[in-house]
């Protein structure tokens, strides 16, 4: 099983993801340069955080035209797993692989801090090791994390279980007081309708080691591992 971390010019959490996967979690992981279209047999592609193309114009707007995104699109059609973190989430939205858009934070400033997330759907490849309603403590670091989707579309998304994480308080309270950036419905992460693609603003790769203050991020990466293993064991996609 192999992870691929895509490197766009301006990605800056690429190595952090790589390190978390290889050195902390002992996984097989390779970097994928954005100009290449060969996904090197990866089972899960990670679009990391950072500022691809400086976020000039709009976050993710230019990166989505990188050649590798064509390959990622095909990969998704074949049932591959894609996780977009922060800027990666923004790229997935710009590409139309996930619905919605990310606006500047409500307070108009960059925010770097730990937040709490409530797992809204524990039945996805990215959360299958979590329990429903479980609370994870993971940092955010973004200027544009204010998730936007027209209310009716949000309703459908929620109904289908595509809202995977919401910002919450330490006890799991989902309320405005615990909404760091103004996202509709406190949404922190969503999945595609087939749950093969997920985007999230918080940075799980920053929460994989005790020394950094939290290991809750591991759950997300290890869920992917567990899910892929099970799928391989079953011999087909579930």
């Amino acid at each position: 099983m192999r992870f691929g971390v895509v490197v766009f010019p301006g990605s800056n959490c690429d190595y952090d993801c790589f390190y978390a996967l290889r050195d902390v979690l002992g996984q097989d992981v390779v970097f994928l340069w954005h100009k290449n279209t060969d996904l090197q047999g990866c089972d899960c592609i990670i679009l990391p955080g950072g500022f691809s193309y400086g976020d000039y114009l709009r976050t993710g707007a230019i990166a989505r035209f990188s050649p590798i995104m064509e390959a990622v699109r095909d990969f998704v059609l074949q049932g591959g797993l894609v996780l977009g973190i922060c800027n990666g989430f923004q790229i997935l939205l710009e590409s139309g692989l996930l619905p919605g858009a990310l606006l500047p934070n409500r307070n108009g400033r960059f925010i770097c801090r730990y937040v709490y997330l409530r797992v809204e759907n524990a039945n996805t490849p990215f959360t299958c090791l979590c329990t429903p309603g479980e609370i994870l403590r993971i940092p955010i670091a973004h200027y544009q994390g204010n998730f936007f989707l027209p209310q009716d579309e949000l309703g459908i998304l929620t109904e289908r279980g595509q809202v995977v994480f919401r910002y919450c308080g330490p006890q799991g309270e989902v309320s405005e007081a615990y909404n760091p950036n103004g996202s509709v419905g406190n949404v922190a992460g969503i999945a595609s309708s087939d749950f093969r693609v997920m985007g999230m603003m918080p940075h799980p790769e920053r929460a994989c080691e005790e020394i950094l203050g939290s290991v809750d991020g591991r759950k997300i990466f290890l869920s992917i591992v567990a899910w892929l293993e099970e799928k391989r064991y079953a011999g087909c996609g579930s």
Partner: protein, 84 residues
Amino acid sequence: MKYCGKVVVTLKPGVFDPQGMTIKNALHTLSYQEVEEVETGKYFRIILKAVTKEEAERRVQEMCERLLANPVIERYTFEVEEFR
């Protein structure tokens, strides 16, 4: 021939504009109490070659659709004129 396309991209109605809000507040603090609303957007000035003005317009519109605006949250207007 050269043309100059001037593009304005703004947020769709109903999409929250924190920047506009901040600026409105700042203007109030500077005692421009008469300001009722501030909406922010992006401006692009594009110099391009084209055979006719229509062609230039078509190309600029395409650029807006494909790259300059995100239809989920934004809308755009533009005008093209000859450039010399």
